[in-house]
Symmetry: D2
């Protein structure tokens, strides 16, 4: 976890105190169920909840000190709770194994993290939608291979981003369901020493599904899918960030990250306004993505379990969720305040001397009966002159002067092919598809 790339709400999920609180809830709910089943006295569950009602401070240092001796975190925690609650606490953890607590806790943490990330996505979606409608018909050049292609609108670019993050939201909801399971099944998952109804009770109280079959641990394919999904979301962040970085290039300058008055772009070149937020997002995307492979390598635990996944999850659990939360929030901020320059977009659109309309002419020639090969040749030879003039020549004028072209198309027909509005006739259709 890098403090500068973290936000408090998400970070709090991963604090030792938060973890211990979830552990307690799991243990107390389980004791409650055990009491209901007559396995332990009802007074045991009551003692635990009574103590909890006092809103006790979790003494992390004390628990750590016990762990330094026992070298076992759950035993250390149970020992500390017993010190607080007294004799009744001995009924806690009956028939359970450490992983029942640890894995169910991780499920709670990841589910809570997913909830924050879903809210982040919702915020981003709302911003993207607002800005997409704002620029629904703002003309800008569409580029393939970095080369001017044909006109699009800036709103369409944002609609595409909206649709992509909407898909990501659906994926994250599915991934959340995948990891939100509860396992209280004992040492090797057989429920030999604990009734399955305890698991069902704890699951219900914590808002989790039951794990149909566990093997001391919750199977790690669930977590692999979760972190892979975060990696896909991060890649979408990289895509939108890359778009902004391109648009902010000196030669393009169609949009800019908001530049606050106190900000200095460079210690040496005071005029610079750098897209540092989106560059940063590009790097953060790499980091979130890098959790994918370790999470997949964690799946093949030995037999009923080994503990190799644990250290990996101590890193990627907090890092991937905290970083993604920060990145989504940063991206929302960037998109919310993005400075958009329609005049510059128009200027760029115009700079190629009308080459962006070449395909329409090509089609018109074909429809006028010229063979595809000939149409292509006619358009290409005029287009090349414009291209080589760096936009100083006009494609329309050259075409008007090409007798082979005018043999097929009249001047009026040619001029009609250079109408920008033509390209935007289906924008409503697309917006309906995306935002309906």
């Amino acid at each position: 976890m890098v403090p500068r790339y973290s936000r408090p709400e998400m970070t709090a999920i991963w604090s030792p105190e938060a973890r211990f609180r979830i552990w307690f809830e799991i243990e107390a709910h389980a004791t409650e169920a055990l009491a209901e089943l007559g396995v332990v006295p009802k007074s045991a569950a009551k003692a635990l909840w009574d103590w909890w009602a006092t809103k006790p401070v979790i003494d992390v240092a004390a628990i750590d000190a016990i762990e330094a001796v026992t070298r076992h975190d759950v035993i250390a925690f149970l020992t500390w709770v017993a010190e607080q609650v007294g004799d009744e606490a001995r009924f806690m953890h009956q028939g359970m194994t450490s992983s029942d607590v640890l894995d169910t806790c991780l499920a709670v943490q990841l589910a809570r993290a997913a909830d924050i990330l879903i809210a982040d996505l919702d915020q981003l979606l709302e911003i993207l939608k607002r800005r997409a409608f704002e620029h629904k018909l703002t003309p800008t050049i569409g580029r393939s291979h970095g080369i001017h292609a044909e006109p699009v609108t800036f709103g369409l670019k944002l609609a595409e981003a909206y649709a992509e993050f909407k898909r990501n939201r659906a994926r994250l909801v599915a991934a959340r369901a995948d990891i939100a399971t509860c396992a209280i099944s004992g040492a090797v998952g057989t429920f030999a020493n604990i009734d399955p109804r305890v698991e069902a009770h704890v699951a219900e109280k914590l808002g989790l599904a039951i794990e149909p079959v566990s093997t001391q641990v919750i199977p790690r394919d669930r977590h692999a899918m979760f972190f892979a999904t975060l990696g896909v979301i991060a890649s979408s962040i990289e895509r939108l960030a890359t778009e902004i970085r391109h648009l902010q290039r000196t030669e393009v300058l169609e949009a800019e990250e908001y530049f606050s008055p106190g900000q200095k772009g460079s210690s040496a070149m005071p005029h610079k306004r750098n897209p540092v937020l989106t560059e940063n997002l590009t790097g953060l995307a790499r980091m979130v993505r890098s959790a994918t492979i370790p999470a997949m390598e964690n799946v093949a635990l030995w037999h009923e379990r080994d503990i190799s996944h644990s250290s990996v999850e101590r890193y990627i659990g907090p890092d991937a969720t905290i970083t993604l939360d920060f990145a989504l929030a940063r991206l929302s901020g960037v998109m919310d305040k993005l400075l958009v320059y329609p005049a510059r977009m128009q200027k760029n659109l115009d700079r190629m001397g009308g080459l962006v309309h070449s395909q329409r002419v090509l089609l018109a020639l074909t429809q006028a009966g010229v063979s595809r090969e000939d149409s292509y040749r006619l358009v290409q030879r005029n287009a090349m002159k414009v291209w080589e003039s760096d936009g100083a020549l006009s494609l329309l004028e050259l075409l008007k002067a090409d007798p082979e072209v005018t043999a097929a198309l009249s001047v009026e027909e040619l001029e009609d092919k250079f109408d920008l509005g033509y390209h935007f006739q289906q924008v409503d259709t697309i917006f309906d598809r995306v935002f309906a």
Copy 2:
């Protein structure tokens, strides 16, 4: 693609001929829709389908030869088709861009690949289910950290694998839906030169959804999610393969890959029976997984598209699907014919002198009123003696001879704690959860 790790049906999807056939279908369906809309003559569509009805051979070499000149694959293909079909073919591809064909084709290929993989999973699931019920109550030792823990059944191990691959099936169905979209939206996705109804028609004919908003290309977050899902499935294969490899170890030998009469394990050590199939699966899993990151790196294409994703997909499209198909089939074969040795499982279960029952004794002591700490100490001091004897001593006998223990538990109570059946009381419950 490595021939020895490929099967014909999946490989065929990725052949040049199959690709060209899909291209033709896309073009012909599109021409049909264009004809319906009055954009091109109905005779154009008819000419295409009439030619198709002759079941023409696709001359891959001829198309490649044209591409060597034009350096553009779709133009080469269209040129070749025009040579076959004649003049009417000039109406083909009207208003479309190459990516309309390429990306929709890839969607068809990946959807077909997914269908094969889903069938592979179904076969594997059926086998796992059969073998799970076969060994539902075959006792075997459960191991955590590679160390004997408590009894499980071999059927439970297989039920776990079943549940995991069942999840993988659901993920793959979702991933298939994610990539099965059709884009026929023109040069920059605006439908400027092509009616969206053409896309809808082609999509319906090919069994795809429409892409709500495309940018010349279908967005690559879809493909990233698809390949990441294959990576998760591969990781589950690695898990089950690793389990078999462990079980086949000389010292464990609870199960073995089927060993055919003609097979030689080693050129030097004729007695060896090596788990080479599951070792191989471990390696194949690494390869399938390795497609994940490139697929994610493909997401951030520049502006409306660049072509950097294309070369990546030429590798991972075939490689990941063909390898996963082969791996799933190989795993099915391994599990189908797996030699299972219940006698050896029982022997291993017994070799630790009853230590696997220690937790039950621990719980019984606690329930008999001994403090958790004391119970732990009592069990541990006897357990350690058994451990150090390498199973020569019996935990039950030692406990019977320990007065602090017998002060709390009678001999009958102690003996009751060493009953194996006790551990399997919930096997039915778990099987119901998994297979119901």
Copy 3:
């Protein structure tokens, strides 16, 4: 292996026939050494080499047919050779294990592949050097964050690429040494049944070092380092490819991939000249890089060996080397014929109204006694006006008109700070460092 991204010389290394030829050489050299040591008759070695001298065709299909029965590739090969050579062949492979042949063969293949890659790098370096000197003093704008910074020369960009690939060459030479080892040490690496002098003899004949300690196999940390090194080289390719892609953008257009007369950029937009080669290189870089993690996962083989690495290497051995060879050759071609547009570079340099000289003014103000904070403020307020005018205003003129500035610097002093040559005074120094 994707045929369109492969070249024949490198591909040939990985053909079955090439592999069998290396196997034979290993076996024959080993038999020779065994004969020298008196373990087998000298006639055995002679028989092998006599047959080899007839330049026999390797019948791959026949060997594969034998393997289909024995399910063991080396035994199949030995059987086939024995069929050809006759009775004397029974002394072959004495005391050896399959991996002695397989791993030493892989070492030979990777070393040969490395030799081709080193030659590729040498060619690329020569081209980069030539073009760097050609454009040693061609002014162009240096960009950080995609934003204009200060002037550099195009030759400096190429010198940087040269230095980077020079480092890559050194790394590859080291990686080649890392994998070029020979192991002929028997079933578990103890030389129990084979004299270490056999290994020494084969190693010398094949130009390999001896493996100091092997465990049936050559340790895979060597291969991991090799493939990781290829991944770093691929990343450098991506960097230079990305630079070209940026320079070819419509708005920048300072350089272009060579565009051959017959080439069509787009089926729809005939004017387009897309940087498709460098985009392709970006994708190929992702693929080469993706071999790194599987190669690292291969290191932790179980005990003296398991065979999980083998399938991975059947993919990444050919794929990573063939793809990198192709990519380096393609990059050489791109750089060799790159169209460079100095006039456009100058035009871009001038478009910001002199903002690129702002740091020099900043320094001059500081040196003239203005505080750093004030200097920054003075430059920034004028620079911002230029920036907002989109280069229509001139920084020099604004500064001349700013009394706070002219209080510190004379007009002559100001004009001197806008001299382009000033920035190139150390180009010779840098070229000396890089190319000396």
Copy 4:
């Protein structure tokens, strides 16, 4: 950074204070050189060093507070230093750019980190050597595919690990050299505003090489190579850790991690001694390895630089080095105190009824004139009986009773082939190769 997987010395390198101290040294050395060149007054450098001689506390919070306003870390730092040192500080950073400081600082940090890691490796190597000689002739079974193969010694296993980590040491030394470069070359690396002799001076003072050509930043192929090297080392750690985990399995139990008296293996099964340290190392290896791809993705910065690498390095710089340092130290501890059980090794060696000697018999038969195919058949038919008896039958006795075998080999000759010492005749040779 996860506190429980970190050690103070390495962690200190990455503290904000340490970073600021290095920044100061770079700035002060640079000012010194500038003074020597007459660019700034000598009093400026003296003022800086005089203040430094007072051993000032670095007020991290104050610097952070300034950065919160300026949003630029180096400017914030320079401002704070200026507040402390006074007016002379305005000559600091003359002609430099932030990256001159940041990248040179990172080089110092990584070089220092590498020094610690090299020392870690030296410690590990010393331990491995000691234990290798201790067990140079301790017989144990060699295993391929997890199946018993032929005898090795435990010392040979450790010698292999020694050789592997020795290679890793050499790789790390090379990787250290790769990243230990100094760049003080100004805004776009042209030295336009700063004399290259400043760079040379700072480099010498900090023990770095000069960067031959930089582009505001030090090229990231260097860092990619560095982190890839750490990934290879981590993979070697995983290999040795996996070996220990295998050896500690209940059924194998040839070695164990040291088990301290206070330690509890499991909250439920008090008899368990789990290889938790080496399992943990397996997970840590995954994490170190996961830095490789992001580091490679960092190489392709845009033009003269973008800042996307920076956030990645804020994670992987500390995480990969701190985790690897911890892992190497943990591995040293494990190997130093590893409990080795020669008696159990012998027991395992004997459990297969002599099958491990089958290859020697095979060779003897061949040398006695039996064809290879027949020899194989003879050995295999007896070996299979032993195998199926689970080691109850003796291969030697069966062979003695097989008339086809005794027709070729006498009883004395057969018995000679079952001598364990035979396998260890080359142990000295191997030890000489590895440790000489």
